[in-house]
Amino acid sequence: MTKSHKRLLFIAKRALYGIPVILGIVIVNFLLLQLMEGDAVDALAGEAASATPEYMAQLRERFGLDQPIYVQLFAYVRNVVMLDLGYSFRHDMPVLDLIMTRLGPTMLLMTTTLFIAIVMGIVLGLLAATGLNTWRDTIISILALVSYATPLFWVGLMLVLLFSVRLGWLPTSGMETIGAGYTGLERALDIARHMVMPVIALSLFYMAAFTRLMRASMLEQANMDYVTTARAKGLTERRIVWGHVLRNAVLPVVTMGGVQIANMLGGSVIIESVFGWPGLGLLAFEALFARDLNLLLGIFLLAACMVVVANLVIDIIYTFLDPRIELK
């Protein structure tokens, strides 16, 4: 079998692993719905405020809520597989459509943040590790330690306080200036200006995590035999770091990047609600306030699926980065 065949097989296998995970998340979702006080009919009756018990029983029958629990579970799984995530009564829209309209801004915010956090983390970790125990290392390590301990939402508020309230440089919320009618490059710049603070606030914590990981990873690689070999054959330290150590040290950071996507989705709920960024996080925050749990669970499910996909992508990137990985 050729290498590319093997790779395809490996990818297919990893993709199959994702299926039980997604199924499991659907079941967790269903169990969470069961945990909830009252059912959809109670919620509807509460909205209508004029439901007789007979009418409610009729509704339960129609929604299948009088069926045994495993029948309901089966129906739920079937619905989700058919991409039917239920209906948001607050927004008067199917949950899936609602989520799709908000997916773009979140993806924009998260990919930018992840990119900046990883690049900055690699650079800072590299700077710290190459200047081990000098003032450079000390300053970077202290910064990473402090960023690691700072709550995201507080950073966001402090940025607003400094850059919007005091200095008036940046807009406090939203994704673009409403009613300005910008197009093309002007619009892109306007969005970029709105993105500066959310991206800084969201990336700070992850940048700290990547910096620490990169520093540790560089130090670990520095003790490897191949470094001794490289040094023995007379390579300069610069060549050793750039040509050999760096590419090996980056691997754990890439893995971590995939893992952190899951956490970043949670962080985006906070950051989007602080900055009024019109994405999934803000939608989740609104759903929380409106007690629109169908919507909240829909977002949760989609987020979990995104993580499974992200992990798959990381696995694929890995097969290119590290030829030692066995494609089984």
Binding site: L32, L145, P151, L265, S273, L296, F300
Partner: protein, 280 residues
């Protein structure tokens, strides 16, 4: 631990300056939590003075939109944060130790099954999961603790599994088996005590994570409505950022310092408990 081992531990710990700094800050947070009802008797939700009084002689850190004393809120909030941090960590450690211990000791299919479960829980976006759990169970101290424990136990389980796997074939364990000890006794009284060091380290770092998660939940309005919390204070200060910056600013510094201190203590414990790793 024998007396000489514990003095050796303390000597190693106290040589570490950042770990000592962390310990001092953490102890001050504990003193704040303990003295809150003495220094600020009565409810921290009670009105204390004019709304939005700036920091000054009357109220050191000012008052919020309703005229509640921010400093009193921070003192009482310390109780909530530390309590939730410690309790959630204890629950999470218990789940993680049981799952990881059983998986590591028995191996085979049980291990496979439990590790799949652990990986599954690690895949779920954890803060979002915590939000969903608290929202559905309605916010209270219990539901917050349960939510934090549910999202943090997998890391413990993986660590404990590794330790138990490494120890299960050692001679002292085989001796226990030969003597006919029950599995439970071997796991709880012979293997577990040998992994107390890494569990202590991960536990201390988890308290910091738990405090951050709790503050995030409270900021989003998912805190226990009956107790004062730092995240709640910041959430309340958010709407008046322009006119009363102090309401949101000071509780955030409290969170930052406490979490930083706990991380420093955790790293200090790690270095002191694993002397071999210290020169890294």
């Amino acid at each position: 631990m024998t007396p000489s081992a514990s003095t050796g531990f303390w000597r190693r710990y106290s040589r570490n300056r950042s770990a000592m700094l962390g310990l001092v800050i953490l102890l001050s947070a504990l003193v704040m939590a303990a003295s809150a009802p003495l220094i600020f008797p009565g409810s921290p939700f009670a009105l204390a003075g004019q709304p939005r009084t700036p920091p000054g002689p009357e109220f050191m850190l000012g008052t919020d939109t309703l005229g509640r004393d921010v400093l009193a809120g921070i003192f009482h909030g310390a109780r909530t944060s530390l309590m939730i941090g410690v309790l959630a960590t204890l629950v999470s450690l218990s789940i993680g130790i049981v799952v990881g211990g059983v998986a590591g000791y028995y191996g085979g299919n049980i291990d496979n099954l439990l590790m799949r479960l652990t990986e599954f829980f690690q895949t779920i976006p954890n803060f979002l999961f915590a939000i969903v759990i608290v929202a559905i169970m309605t916010p209270s101290i219990q539901s917050i603790i349960i939510a934090i424990a549910i999202v943090t136990w997998p890391a413990v389980a993986r660590l404990v599994r590794g330790e138990f796997m490494a120890l299960r074939n050692r001679e002292f364990v085989q001796a226990c088996v030969v003597v006919g000890m029950s599995d439970l006794r071997i796991l709880a009284f012979h293997i577990l005590p040998n992994c107390i060091a890494p569990i202590t380290v991960i536990g201390s770092l988890m308290v910091a994570t738990a405090i951050l998660v709790e503050s995030g939940l409270a900021f989003l309005g998912l805190g226990d409505p009956n107790v004062m919390s730092w995240g709640y204070l910041i959430g309340a200060g958010r709407t008046v950022l322009r006119t009363a910056w102090w309401v949101a600013t000071f509780p955030g510094i409290a969170i930052l310092l406490t979490v930083l201190a706990i991380n420093l203590v955790g790293e200090g414990l790690n270095d002191a408990l694993n002397p071999r790793l210290r020169d890294r």
